[in-house]
Symmetry: C2
Subunit: 216 residues, 2 copies
DNA sequence: GGATGTGAAGTATTTCACAGCC
DNA sequence: GGCTGTGAAATACTTCACATCC
């Protein structure tokens, strides 16, 4: 196919659902690598991930031919290729906005760093905690947002502020150049085309399970 | 090998993707009700949710005919019907397993109660904190799991234990009769048919966004 | 022999478009 | 006039099945 033309829409030919599965492949491959496994088949991967081997092969085929017929995939090579495709082969600096209880839990969660997401700045709306140190970071006021995001080359933000402030904070982040946002408040903030947003919403998750366990 | 496509129990004719959207409808309807709006069209709902009006009408049509032609939907009536369909018209008791930093944040998060999810018990694997009071709940040891889940009529659990303990904890919960699990560890625990599980995994969410903002 | 990569077939989901009703 | 409810059409996604290659 034609090489990436710089269309304003971007690279939309790979289905989003495929992209959303790649991080799971990465995670399993990481584990296989740690276990010293060097080669894996789509069959074996599928068992670990509870998806069909055909789906894995099809997903990978959007990006190239990474396997060896008759043998399978090199764990190391496939992992590196997927990390490159996803853009997680080099680290990302991340800002956290909102340093309440949830924000503090996020700042002290050890799971971001090993995967290359470095929490390098914390902000809060409430000036009474600005200046405090949390998780090794000094809490900054929103007036420093623009400067710090620019200086630290932050493209990703995690938002954990009360719901009524969320849209406004998201707007500020976008205005400062942030391009991807992970939002913990129970709304779906509106963002302009080109900005990515994901919501972490445990209540919605619970509510979509009760349907299945409700035996009235 | 292939996931069984045989006749699944009961109500599997409604696509899961439809069920997953209903809680969002509920949330918007709640807000409209608070704002005193009495009638809403699929067009208006669609704008707020960023989905097409046709999708909303189609989703609702799986369950009946709730609208009035020429007018729209009664906010109050549609809300009640959806809450009933989802099984969230009466409250659910929920157990939290794992009272580390994340578990504490969950226990003190005020967003579960208003939606009818009552956190009524907390457990931890680490006996050194068993007996402590967190968020108004006494932390219990795993030896009390079975008795308390039975006594408090708990069908839902939130699991926030270290990744290496997660599958084991999930197995214990299922053995005790829990039917839905919200898991915060970065794995996808295996559960038998009929048990519902959802994962909250911020790293996967981040990794599926970097693809789109990575302009190498 | 054994596993990939991929068109083609099969499903699932979304959107269209319009009859029917308020 | 306006909006729902819904078959039909369109699109998206998954699975099959097999030629191809190591």
């Amino acid at each position: 196919m034609a090489p990436n033309s710089e269309s304003r829409q971007g690279r939309s030919e790979v289905p989003e659902v495929v992209i959303s599965r790649l991080p799971q492949y990465v995670r399993i491959l990481n584990r296989l690598l740690e276990d010293g496994i060097q080669v894996v088949s789509s069959q074996q991967l599928g068992e670990k991930l509870q998806v069909t081997p055909a789906q894995i092969r099809k997903d990978l085929s959007y990006f190239g031919r990474f396997g060896k017929q008759g043998r399978g995939y090199s764990v190391h090579d496939l992992l590196e290729r997927l990390r490159q495709i996803l853009g997680i082969n080099s680290p990302w600096n991340v800002a956290v906005v909102g340093v309440g209880r949830l924000g503090r839990a996020i700042l002290s969660y050890p799971g971001f760093n090993p995967d290359g997401f470095h929490l390098v700045a914390a902000f809060d709306l409430n000036n009474s905690i600005v200046g405090d140190t949390v998780g090794g970071l000094v809490v900054r006021g929103m007036d420093e947002l623009d400067r710090v995001i620019d200086q630290e080359e932050i493209s990703i933000a995690i938002v954990a502020v009360p719901v009524d402030f969320t849209q406004n904070v998201v707007d500020q982040l976008v205005a400062c150049g942030v391009r991807a946002i992970l939002n913990y408040a129970p709304i779906t903030p509106q963002v302009r085309e080109g900005i990515r947003i994901r919501n972490i919403d445990p209540v919605l998750s619970l509510q979509s399970m009760t349907y299945y366990i409700n035996d009235d």
